[in-house]
């Protein structure tokens, strides 16, 4: 057969490939291949070669001259016996058959095979190009060693491919020390939408869940955690270090923080509350007092309340000061004598009015409000009847206890 040039090699082809020394004697077969992520993120740095004996040899990438479907030709014979190396990410042992996260496709997948790119510089080397999932790679795995490599390669072409580029793969590793040695970070996950990340986290095993939530940026973790089923939230928080859990709960909206902590054992939630910063703690503690299926249990304590007489220009300054609240704010509340809430102003109205307008003039007709002990069902009815985006929850003295927003109502409705 003429020497064919080929650009890719599958791991199923690499496994079992004979390895020849300088005198073209066969010294063994490839048993596994490993990346050393601290040195290079994709290059196969070591080939583990097994011979007749029980011990394996370790071949470095720069000791290889050529790689083809017929075998690997060495350029150097100073080989060392392989003994377990913690800095290696081994393809067969650590990657094949395991779950990884496809950051681009936003799902958890199982690795069937790995595709290498064959690089030709002064020597031939392999770099991980794609991780293969789907029927095509299953076929290769089933045929591996049972049929000649070239035949399998030709037959599998009939099946549509399904692969994920290596740079979009995120490996999940629960052991923090190993994560460090293998240079695994969960950074890539931080760019995903928190809701997508939540879906992925729900699919993983508890240990992997905790590893991800505990290592990513606490703000992202908080957002993702808010989207996860409350019972699962609780079990994740429970198993994190209290300081780590507190950092995350700090970043959550007080109502969601209260929901999450409410699911925990009293002891654990006290531990976390202790570690939290002072200001959110009081809010969260107050919210924890309310029964879950009342208005108090649904509401959020974060809201912007301004005196009735405030001018629009002054209000705008106030809003700038509360920038962090804006994402979930749809209305401003106006307070009269004694802090009593008297009216609400939809945020959108501020854009159209002149700077010296008093907020009172922009208020909507009648103020719809509710009490903290109102039943959940009644609250959803109010939202439906009056087409509300936000509903103030007032204490008996008329001051603001909290706000229920439409997304809280949707969550409640979805649970039924």
């Amino acid at each position: 057969m003429t020497a064919e040039t080929f650009e890719i090699l599958f791991f199923t082809e690499l496994a079992g490939l004979p390895v020849f020394d300088l005198k073209h004697r066969r010294i063994g077969h490839v048993r596994d291949a490993a990346i050393v992520p601290l040195i290079h993120p994709a290059r196969i740095d070591r080939f583990l070669v097994g011979g007749a004996g029980s011990s394996w040899l370790s071949v470095r990438y720069d000791q290889i001259a050529t790689i083809s479907l017929d075998g690997i030709q060495l350029s150097n014979e100073r080989l060392y016996p392989y003994h377990s190396d913690e800095y290696m990410l081994r393809i067969q042992r650590d990657l094949l058959d395991q779950q990884i996260i496809d950051v681009n496709g936003r799902k958890v997948v199982r690795v069937n095979d790995v595709t290498f790119e064959v690089r030709r510089d002064e020597r031939e080397s392999l770099a991980v190009l794609e991780v293969d999932v789907g029927v095509r790679s299953i076929f290769r795995r089933l045929m591996q060693g049972a049929a000649p490599r070239r035949l399998v390669r030709n037959l599998q072409r009939a099946i549509p491919p399904s692969s994920i580029r290596w740079e979009f793969c995120s490996i999940v590793e629960a052991d923090p020390q190993r994560r460090l040695r293998l240079n695994i970070s969960h950074d890539k996950l931080e760019d995903m939408h928190p809701a997508d990340l939540a879906d992925i986290v729900e699919e993983l095993s508890p240990a992997d869940r905790e590893a991800i939530i505990g290592t990513i940026d606490s703000e992202v973790a908080a957002e993702a955690l808010s989207e996860i089923d409350p019972k699962m939230q609780a079990s994740i928080l429970e198993n994190l270090e209290p300081e780590v859990a507190a950092d995350i709960v700090d970043e959550m909206a007080p109502d969601q923080a209260a929901d999450a902590l409410g699911e925990l054992e009293d002891e654990t939630s006290a531990e976390i509350l202790e570690e939290m910063e002072a200001e959110p703690v009081t809010d969260v503690k107050e919210l924890l007092e309310y029964d879950e299926d009342t208005a108090g249990g649904m509401m959020n304590t974060e809201a912007i309340v301004l005196p009735e007489a405030t001018t629009l220009a002054a209000a705008m300054d106030q809003l700038r000061a509360h920038e962090d609240l804006l994402e979930n704010t749809h209305v401003l509340f106006l307070s009269g004598a004694g802090g009593k809430i008297t009216a609400q102003v939809p945020l959108a109205r501020l854009f159209l009015a002149a700077g010296d307008t008093r907020l009172k003039e922009l208020a909507t007709g009648r103020l719809i409000s509710t009490r903290p002990d109102e039943k959940q069902k009644r609250v959803t009815e109010l939202f439906d009847k009056y087409n509300l985006l936000a509903l103030p929850v007032l204490e008996e003295d008329g001051t603001l206890a909290g706000v229920i927003t439409a997304d809280d109502v949707i969550t409640v409705l979805r649970k039924k």
Partner: protein, 416 residues
């Protein structure tokens, strides 16, 4: 005292939530295969097979407990674990066997439907397609969770067997003696029936279903103790019902032991209920069959897709999880078509499917034992020695019975 009330409520909720998987699996265990196998055992062999119930219950508790423990500790399904620890080829083989066995089980469930409704004069050409469509839509489009409670509640109809078993005035002395006195015979039919009894009580699919259900419910190693109680109670309940079905049938057929050839034969066990006997039998069989028919195809599709790494889940769309939906749909369609084939021997098929379950069981058990003894997976939750003993004994005994049956069949063929 809202604190006290809510805490009490939460404990109740935890218990109810945990009450799910083990109990449901135990109830589904008495499906059409279960009812007819136990009926056949009692009708043909009287009290003789009663002794098997004690060891079978023990093996059932051990296997179900192992699955629950694996699910709670690892947070992964059984097919996930087999794939991660034993690779693709073994997973593929097991999934192939599981699909085959479960296909015959689904055929058995639809046969149960056909038989039950035939007693009311509804032709199988009408009943089976309608139920098949109902089952398909319920999981894919409907709200299975709500219907599950109806099924569970309807399972209480099995009480009629307990009443019948008492009203029929069985020979309690004999029944008690044979409950503890092992009776072995090198008779092909007898051994076949013993294998079927093991297979129907400890069905391979149950192991996968139970473990997934535990994972799905998010039961963690911490809450696991409550779950264990529920598993044991469920298993004992299954066996109590089995005991009374056998006793009722043994009583009904005491003067002329015979094979169960039709639904009318099996309904004889309930003859103390006079004119209601047929109605009760048919209602019980219908509920059991439809309940299991809802769970089996779905659980099979989930197990296979998890193990082989395909997208799965009824919350995905058809083009997102094509293999999952095709497998699910084909299992239902092929089974329904098989049952409505003119001249298809339904009762025989139901019994045969349970024999197949029994023959496949040891192989699943072997993998379960290997997995649950891996310290890297289970940590301090690895199998206690007693569990290993019971599980291995089950493997050896069932394989032994299968080999004995094969030998007897071959010898008989040579004789004639």
């Amino acid at each position: 005292m809202p604190g006290f009330a809510s805490r009490w409520k939460r404990h109740l909720l935890v218990f109810l939530a945990v009450l799910g998987p083990g109990f449901i699996t135990a109830m589904v265990d008495n499906d059409s295969g279960g009812i007819l196998t136990y009926s056949q055992a009692g009708a043909r062999w009287g009290y003789l097979p009663l002794w098997t119930l004690l060891p079978i219950t023990l093996a059932l508790i051990v296997s179900q407990e192992m699955c629950s423990r694996m699910g709670a500790v690892t947070g992964k399904g059984l097919s996930d674990l087999i794939r991660e620890e034993f690779g693709l080829r073994i997973t593929f083989l097991i999934m192939l066997l599981l699909v085959l066995a479960n296909l015959t089980n689904v055929i058995a469930e639809f046969s149960g439907v056909a038989i039950a409704l035939d007693l009311f004069g509804i032709s199988k050409f009408i009943s089976v397609p309608i139920v098949a469509a109902f089952v398909w839509f319920l999981a894919v489009k409907g709200n299975y969770d709500r219907v599950e409670k109806i099924f569970l509640f309807a399972c209480s109809i099995f009480v009629v067997y307990i009443i019948a078993g008492i009203l029929i005035k069985p020979d309690w002395k004999q029944a008690m003696i044979y409950s503890v006195k092992p009776k072995l015979m090198l008779d092909g039919e007898y051994i076949t029936m013993l294998i079927a009894m093991v297979g129907t009580t400890i069905a391979p699919w149950m192991q996968f279903y139970q473990q997934s259900a535990v994972v799905e419910k998010g039961i963690t190693a911490k809450e696991y103790r409550e779950s264990r109680v529920e598993v044991i109670v469920g298993c004992i309940l299954t066996s109590v019902i089995a005991f009374f079905i056998i006793v009722a049938c043994a009583g009904a057929f005491r003067d002329h032991p015979a094979n169960i050839e039709s639904a009318k034969d099996a309904a004889l066990a309930l003859k103390p209920f006079n004119q209601y006997a047929t109605l009760l039998f048919s209602a019980g069989l219908l509920n059991a069959s439809v309940f299991a028919a809802c769970i089996l195809p779905l659980s099979t599709a989930y197990s296979v897709c998890e193990g082989l790494g395909f997208e799965s889940g009824v919350n995905k769309r058809w083009n997102e999880a094509p293999i999952f939906y095709w497998l699910y749909t084909l299992l239902i369609v092929v089974s329904a078509l098989t049952v409505i084939t003119p001249g298809f021997k339904m009762v025989k098929m139901i019994l045969l499917s349970q024999v197949l379950n029994g023959m496949l069981l040891p192989f699943i058990l072997i993998f379960m034992i290997l997995l649950i003894n891996r310290y890297s997976l289970m940590k301090e939750w690895v199998n206690p020695r007693v569990y290993n003993f019971v599980a291995w004994a089950t493997v050896v005994i069932v394989i032994g019975m299968t080999m004995a049956l094969t030998a007897i069949t071959i010898i008989h063929r040579n004789d004639t």
